[in-house]
Symmetry: C2
Subunit: 316 residues, 2 copies
DNA sequence: CTGAAAGCGCTAACAC
DNA sequence: GTGTTAGCGCTTTCAG
C-alpha cells in the first residue's frame, strides 16, 4: 500500500503538500493540488487511520457501555447514539459488559489507551467513585443523572416519572399496585422505583416487587406470581412494554379483563405495546442516546434532562 | 501521559526491554521485568493503542455493516458477533447504512484505512461486484451465501427454509398463501422468498405479497390489506415474528380464529412469538453472528451453513 | 538477555 | 505557497 511519501515523490512535491491537500488546507496552489489528487487516484491511496489518530491524539470514535445489546431499551439508546455518529462522521463501538464490573473498567480503560475519545455509559455496575478516575483520560457521559462535575449527563427524571406514574394509578383508585424491575437494589432504576413507590403508597408488600424482568416471558412469570395471590394487585407498573405485554397476555389467559380487573402500564413505548394498546411512559431513549452522543463529542459536562411522556392508551 | 521511553528511562532499561515485558516476551530477566513492572504501575502507564496498531498493522477490531440497529433480526446477529468479540478480546464497531449504497462503500473503505481488520456484512445494498475490490484491504464476511471465492460466508439456506415452510403450509391444505417481506426485489431474501413460493405454489396473486414489513404495526397493515380481500388467504408466512404478531392481532380483532381461519408462521423465534405461541422458523441468527465473527478473525473464506429449525406451535 | 536504531505513516511547526 | 524536519509511541531486527 502506498503511503504519503510515495504520493509526494510521484507528484513531485513534498509530503507536507500532500498532507495539505489531504486536509483541505487552502495554502496549496491549484496546480499542485491537482497533481497530488491525480497521483492519489492513480495509486488508489487512502491515509492510514492509525497514523493519523496517533499524531492527532484523537480517534473520532466513541464507545457505548451497555450490559446487553439484545434489550429494547439499550437498543433504543444505541440507536440514538448511532444517529448522531452518522451525522457527524464518528465511529461507534459497542462495549457489552453483562454487568461485570471488572469488564466495565476494562472498557473505560480504552480511553487511557487512546483507543476511544469518549465513552457513553448506558448502564453501569461500578460505583461512580471507581469510574471518575477515568475522566482523566477522556470524556465520560452518563445516561442517568449524577451531580459529579466531571460527568456529562443525558438523563431522564426517572424519579419524577415513577412518582407521576404511581400517582396516576393512585388517582384512578388503585391501592394495590405491583411493579417489576430488571435488576435488584444494585440498580439505580430499581432504587428510584422503590423510592417513588414509597413516596406515593407508603410501604408495600415485598411480593408486589418482581425482579429480573426483561422480556415477555418474564412478564408472564411476573403475572403468574402476582395474579394468583390473595391480595391480587389491581394494577401493575412494568419496567418495559415487553414485560407489560407478558403480563397482559397472562391476565387475559386467566380471564382477567384489562383494565377493569387489572390495569397495566409499561415503559419505553415499544412496538409491542403499540400493538396491544398498552399505556406506557415513553422515556425517549433514542433522544437520550442522541443527546449523550453530542455531549460526548463536545466533551461537555452538562446535565441535560430529556422529558418523558406518559401515554395513556387502553390498558389503564 | 507517560510513554514507553519514560518507562525505560526510569526503570534503567531500554525501550526494547519495556516492549518485551509489555508483550510477554520470555527473554527478559526476572529482575528487569520486575523493575519495569514497578515503574509501569508507578507511572500508571498504558500503551497507546494507535501506535501499536500502526506498527502491528492490525487493529483487532471488526465492523458490522447493518442498515439499522433497531431491528430484531440484525440485533440477534450483532449479538452473536459481540459474543465472539468478548470471548476473543476484539472490539466491534457498528456501521449503520440505512441501505445507502454509497455509505456502505464508505464503511468498506475503513478496511483500506486500516481502521478495521475485517467487516461482516449483515445485509447489503451494493452488488457483489462493487464489494469484492475491498477484499484486497481486509477480510469481508457475508451473512448470506455467495460463491465468490474471496468472501467467507456464515449463512442460512434461506431458499431451503422458505421452500420447506411453504411446503409445510401446502401439506396442511393451504393453497391461498400470502407472505410478507422487508424490502423489495433488490433484496436477496425477497428474491428467495418469491422463488420458493413459485416453486411450491406456482404463480401467485401480487396482492399476496406485502412489502416493507419490519415490526408489529407493519403486520397490522399487512393484515388489513390481506384479510378483507375476496380471495382472503388462509395462511400467511411473515418475515419475522413481530410482523406475524401484528397479523395475529389484527386477525383476532376481526374475529378470525388462528389457525382455523388463518394460519400464521413467522421467523426468528423472537420473544413476542413465544408469548403468542406463534409458529416460527428459527434461523439461529445469533449463531450466524458468532460464526461470522470467527470467520472474520481467522480471515477465513469458508462457507459455513447454519441449520434452521421450524418450530410448530399453535398458530398453524 | 539486552540495547541501538530503523522505521510504521502521518502532521505541524519552522524556515524559506 | 512549499519543503525540511522533528516527532507521535510503539515494535522489531540486528548486533553484541
Amino acid at each position: 500500500m502506498a503511503n504519503i511519501h510515495d504520493i509526494a515523490k510521484r507528484a513531485g512535491v513534498s509530503v507536507s503538500t500532500v498532507s495539505r491537500v489531504l486536509n483541505h488546507n487552502p495554502y496549496v496552489s491549484e496546480s499542485k493540488r491537482a497533481a497530488v489528487q491525480r497521483v492519489i487516484e492513480e495509486l488508489d491511496y487512502t491515509p492510514n487511520r492509525s497514523a493519523v489518530d496517533l499524531i492527532r491524539r484523537e480517534t473520532r470514535s466513541i464507545g457505548v457501555i451497555m450490559p446487553y445489546n439484545n434489550n429494547q431499551a439499550f437498543d433504543q439508546l444505541l440507536h440514538g447514539v448511532l444517529n448522531g455518529s452518522v451525522e457527524r462522521d464518528y465511529t461507534v463501538t459497542v462495549l457489552p459488559t453483562k454487568y461485570d464490573a471488572v469488564k466495565e473498567l476494562d472498557c473505560l480503560n480504552m480511553l487511557k489507551k487512546k483507543q476511544l475519545d469518549s465513552i457513553i455509559i448506558a448502564s453501569r455496575s461500578n460505583a461512580w467513585d471507581a469510574i471518575i478516575p477515568y475522566t482523566k483520560y477522556g470524556t465520560i457521559i452518563a445516561c442517568e443523572f449524577t451531580d459529579h462535575p466531571e460527568i456529562g449527563c443525558a438523563y431522564i427524571d426517572r424519579y419524577g416519572s415513577y412518582v407521576e406514574t404511581f400517582q396516576l394509578l393512585k388517582n384512578k383508585g388503585h391501592s394495590r399496585v405491583a411493579f417489576t424491575t430488571a435488576r435488584g437494589e444494585e440498580s439505580n432504576s430499581t432504587q428510584l422505583t422503590l423510592k417513588a413507590y414509597r413516596q406515593v403508597f407508603g410501604d408495600f408488600l415485598p411480593e408486589y416487587h418482581i425482579r429480573d424482568c426483561y422480556g415477555i416471558d418474564d412478564g408472564v412469570r411476573a403475572a403468574q406470581c402476582l395474579l394468583h395471590s390473595d391480595r391480587r394487585p389491581t394494577a401493575v407498573y412494568a419496567n418495559g412494554d415487553e414485560v407489560a405485554a407478558g403480563i397482559y397476555q397472562y391476565a387475559r389467559s386467566i380471564e382477567l379483563a384489562v383494565p377493569d380487573d387489572l390495569a397495566i402500564i409499561g415503559q419505553e413505548n415499544q412496538p409491542i405495546g403499540i400493538g396491544l394498546q398498552l399505556s406506557t411512559v415513553n422515556h425517549q431513549l433514542v433522544k437520550v442516546g442522541e443527546q449523550a452522543f453530542y455531549l460526548a463529542i463536545e466533551k461537555s459536562k452538562a446535565k441535560i434532562e430529556i422529558p418523558y411522556h406518559i401515554l395513556v392508551r387502553q390498558s389503564i
